[in-house]
């Protein structure tokens, strides 16, 4: 795969910074709000739902622009997922992901962005996450 051009790199950085700001503003980096959202049977914090709704509204509107274009602005083509059917791997993986999300209160983005806090728990979560990803890489042929 070709090395990225300056436009791509600038867009990557800007997009990531905005994403990081959004995560922090929405407090998705706070496991209390994540577990609070998943705690739907007890003391429920609906905030995460609003984060999702806000994100999906903007992204789906701008996706209309994507559909009209032949290619992205700085890259030769759109690299969208090609699979369309929900298969066993997807469901099993998502189920496991959800368990980890509810047990720990973190998902990849917020966990990584919170590394800037330099707190031990974050290093533990990120380290464990990377380990889990690595282990999957070792066993993925079995699925």
């Amino acid at each position: 795969m070709k090395n990225s051009n300056m436009g791509q790199l600038a867009a990557t950085l800007i997009s990531a910074i905005i994403f990081g700001i959004g995560l922090e503003l929405a407090q998705m980096t706070n496991p209390q709000k994540v577990i609070g959202f998943l705690n739907i049977t007890d003391k429920w914090d609906p905030s995460l739902m609003f984060v999702m709704i806000g994100a999906i509204i903007v992204n789906s509107i701008l996706f209309i622009v994507v559909k009209r274009r032949v290619s992205p602005f700085f890259a030769p083509k759109f690299m969208l997922p090609t699979l369309t059917k929900a298969d066993k791997k997807l469901i099993l993986g998502s189920a496991i992901f959800g368990l980890g999300w509810g047990i720990g209160g973190f998902c990849p983005g917020p966990a990584l962005s919170s590394l800037m806090r330099l707190q031990p728990q974050i290093f533990i979560v990120v380290g464990s996450m990377l380990l889990g990803m690595w282990v999957f890489k070792l066993v993925e042929k079995k699925f």
């Binding site: 496991p31 739902m49 999906i56 509204i57 368990l99 999300w101 509810g102 047990i103 464990s128």
Partner: protein
């Protein structure tokens, strides 16, 4: 069920930023802002396809850091023990790779593309996340 800690506006605004960031990456570079997949491309590196991923993660952390300075968001607080953080992190990492995505890839990007796979994935991990929290509550594990 009672509603607690609901912060609709920061959640919504944060979500709008997240959605906007994801749209930028797609329109500019043709890439899905799926963090688990982006990390996956670092764990299984292909020539010329790694630097932008690292730059993205750096940007994510930088954005969160800037937001923390400006907003004064607090440190991460959780009463989940180290063991639960390890288990949670591991399952979250493993599951995201098996399931080909996480909250950003499936929840934010996939649903915005009206992807059936992502809708199934998101419903699944939301469900198991809620089940996990329910069970942790029954076990008397605080957060």
């Amino acid at each position: 069920m009672s509603i607690v800690n609901f912060t609709p506006l920061p959640a919504l605004y944060g979500g709008l930023l997240i959605g906007f960031a994801a749209a930028i990456l797609l329109l500019a570079n043709g890439r899905i802002f799926g963090i688990s997949g982006i990390i996956g491309g670092i764990l299984k590196p292909q020539k010329g396809d790694v630097f932008w991923r690292i730059l993205l993660l750096v940007g994510l952390i930088l954005g969160a850091f800037i937001a923390k300075q400006v907003l004064g968001t607090p440190s991460i607080f959780t009463t989940r023990s180290t063991l639960w953080l390890i288990i949670g992190g591991f399952l979250m990492g493993f599951g995201s790779r098996l399931g080909s995505g996480c909250t950003s890839g499936h929840g934010v990007c996939g649903i915005s593309r009206f992807s059936i796979r992502s809708i199934f994935a998101t419903l699944t991990f939301m469900a198991t996340g809620m089940i996990a929290v329910f069970i942790m509550n029954l076990m008397g594990v605080s957060y």
